[in-house]
């Protein structure tokens, strides 16, 4: 059942302990508590500081290249034969994905807190690249943790990070993917908490991270809302975004949460299919638990051990999800669906060939679902897809699937 959300309800979330309903919170070892509380206090102060906000806005405009266009995909719309499909072009941001919106914000926080050493986790490498980029710009020491399997399948981004001067640490423990990279980043943070700022790449982790990452990414939805009204005179009927941790989706959704007429669709990685068990879709097929500092939907076994995940896309290959998504699911405000590896790969090819836009494999999940959705809608309706990142980094994966050696 869906609840009508108001601005007042949203302003009260997360609560003082970082909870979104039953989700979120701060589940970390004691060593990190003081740092998290300081970060929360400083962020809540800076959020209202005009100088901080002006610097953030200026960097987004002049360095990232915002606003990103809202583009009418005319040919894709014609081929689909349903609702108008519009693309929010986060792929055109500097570094090629939405991730940089957040790293610009967090590195600014780090500077205000006087921290000179930056750490980050990364899956597909986009957040790692976006972190390495802002660190290069400010001359900060940057350490990126990346699962050893992801280091292999995203070698291009690994090299980009190295060119930017970052140290990339391949994580060999556990499943050697994003969750293990996050474990290792947490271990580094607990060891170097005095001088180190942890730039988390998604709307997950202990409070206040889900809050501040959502705030920094909400520029996507604010722009999309304005652009939609300006270009079409109305709000979109549906928004579609892929969900790994969920930062691009929440960034798009958040400014529309009180617009009841706007349907929200978060698309998880269905991998080989939900029934196969080989997927990364905790909202579709998981249950609530506690991992990486927050309570949220997780993929776990009956004993509470975190399950291994599978997705063709490294950025979605994560057993958890941001706690605010878990809340939006439970109150029925957003719909969470999944598409398979194969559907995402088909969508990658389709968008590339029909619109000349090569989406990231993560983004391709959103494209795949949006096209199916648009086909069921009226021609005067409007769907916005968040094109969260560009697909250059995935060309090796695609070529390999095609049996081509580059």
């Amino acid at each position: 059942m869906s609840v009508k959300l108001t601005e007042e309800m949203l302003a009260a979330l997360p609560d003082a302990r970082g909870h979104f309903g039953a989700f979120g919170g701060r589940f970390v070892s004691e060593t990190l508590m003081d740092s998290l509380m300081t970060l929360e206090k400083e962020y809540l102060r800076l959020k209202k500081d005009p100088e901080f906000q002006a610097t953030f806005d200026k960097d987004l405009a002049d360095y990232v290249g915002r606003p990103s266009p809202l583009y009418f995909a005319e040919r894709l719309t014609r081929e689909t034969g349903g609702a108008q499909i519009w693309l929010k072009r986060e792929d055109l941001n500097h570094t090629g994905a939405h991730k940089v919106n957040n790293t610009i914000g967090q590195v600014l926080l780090a500077s205000f807190l006087g921290k000179k050493r930056i750490i980050a986790e990364t899956g597909a490498g986009q957040h790692g690249v976006a972190t390495a980029t802002v660190c290069a710009r400010l001359g900060l020491d940057c350490h990126v943790f990346m699962g050893a399997e992801d280091v292999q399948r995203q070698s291009l981004n690994v090299y980009r990070m190295k060119l930017l001067g970052a140290h990339v640490h391949a994580v060999e423990s556990g499943s050697r993917t994003l969750k293990d990279a996050m474990n290792e980043a947490m271990r580094d943070w607990v060891t170097n908490v005095d001088d180190t700022f942890y730039i988390i790449g998604t709307v997950a982790g202990p409070h206040p991270y889900p809050l501040l990452v959502r705030d920094f990414q909400s520029v996507i939805g604010r722009e999309a809302r304005e652009q939609s009204l300006e270009k079409t005179g109305k709000l979109p009927d549906a928004l579609v975004a892929c969900v790994g941790g969920g930062s691009n989706a929440l960034g798009l959704f958040y400014p529309f949460l009180t617009d009841e007429s706007v349907q929200l669709y978060g698309v998880e990685a269905g991998g080989l299919g939900l029934e196969s068990g080989d997927h990364a879709a905790p909202l579709c097929a998981g249950r609530p638990g506690v991992l990486h500092g927050n309570r949220t939907y997780l993929m776990e076994d009956e004993n509470g051990q975190i399950a291994s995940t599978h997705s063709v896309s490294a950025g979605l290959d994560y057993p958890g999800v941001g706690p605010e998504h878990s809340w939006l699911k439970d109150i029925g405000r957003a719909n969470y669906v999944s598409v398979t590896d194969e559907e995402a790969l088909d969508a990658f090819r389709m968008l590339t060939q029909v619109e000349g836009i090569m989406p990231a494999l993560e983004t391709s999940h959103a494209v795949a679902y949006a096209v199916k959705l648009a086909a069921t809608m009226d021609k005067d309706q409007m769907v916005v897809i968040n094109i969260s990142g560009r697909g250059d980094k995935d060309i090796h994966t695609i070529a390999q699937l095609d049996g081509i050696e580059l």
Binding site: E30, T31, S35, M186, N192, V193, V290, N303, Q305, I306
Partner: protein, 270 residues
């Protein structure tokens, strides 16, 4: 009085310090854990911290990460750990057992079901690394009500205000983490520990156990000097890793590590 309080009070009366080993349950094999527990009691330990293996041990260094992997490979679930404690209690009714681990396996089992089963099995205390007191409001009372001691961590970064609040939520003892870092790192600075533990003693009457970085009789004695007990983990778990093949050899190796620590602690003048 809980079994933990009883043991710590007796030690205090004798002017002695608690020796508290940590091993990961199910490592190297679930069938061997109870035997290792008895063997450590014979070597003179006072309280046993039994690690509940978790797939994502974020606060642990490589040694305990690998122990978790070995234990999980053999299917060591939380229920199985509780069964080990029951078995231990068949012949030992005096040595307190504290379960130490991460929250999610407990959450998956259900808090009430877990607390009931833990009491039934003969568990004495619960230490959940990723459950700070702020999030423990609903959980800690479930433990206390059944006579299980909720044990929380204190760290070098913990402010005075939090030390008081954490002590309010705790019973049995508080666990002071000797440095900022993961288990098994070699970072301990005994002077820093001494200063902080003395300060903690001013803020709470609870006994203070100190863990992280204690690897031999020398560090045990130095830390024991300033605290109520020492917790020894990674060096034991590493010994388990290196002696997986032969359980008798393994027990001897653990005893060889623990005996000098016991002796060094007992040489501390009250």
């Amino acid at each position: 009085m809980s079994r933990i309080e009883g043991v710590l009070q007796t030690l205090k009366g004798q002017g002695r310090k608690a020796l508290i080993p940590f091993i990961t349950a199910g490592d190297p094999h679930p069938d061997q854990t109870v035997s290792l527990m008895h063997s450590m009691v014979d070597a003179g330990v006072d309280i046993i911290e039994l690690g509940v293996p978790f797939s994502d041990p974020m606060a642990d260094g490589p040694v305990i990460q690998l122990a978790c992997e070995r234990a999980l490979k053999h299917g060591t679930s939380l229920r199985r750990v509780l069964a080990m404690v029951s078995e231990f209690r068949e012949t030992n009714n005096t040595t307190p057992v504290v379960l130490m681990g991460y929250l999610n396996p407990i959450e998956a089992m259900g808090y009430d079901a877990f607390a009931d089963a833990a009491v039934q099995a003969g568990v004495d205390g619960i230490l959940t690394v990723d459950l700070p007191p702020e999030e423990a409001g609903d959980v800690a009372p479930l433990f206390s009500r059944r006579g299980l001691d909720p044990i929380f961590l204190l760290a070098p970064t913990t402010t005075d205000e939090r030390i008081r609040a954490i002590a309010d939520h705790s019973s049995g003892y508080v666990y002071y983490v000797s440095f900022n870092g993961v288990t098994g790192a070699a970072k301990i600075n005994v002077d820093d520990v001494a200063a902080k533990v003395a300060h903690i003693h001013e803020l709470t009457a609870l006994p203070v156990g100190v863990g992280f970085g204690i690897r031999d009789a020398k560090t045990a004695a130095a830390v024991g000097q300033v605290s109520d007990g020492v917790i020894v983990g990674s060096v034991l778990v590493d010994t388990i890793a290196r002696n997986q093949a032969d359980i008798e050899e393994l027990k001897r190796a653990l005893t060889d590590l623990l005996t000098p620590m016991r002796e060094a602690l007992d040489r501390i003048k009250p």
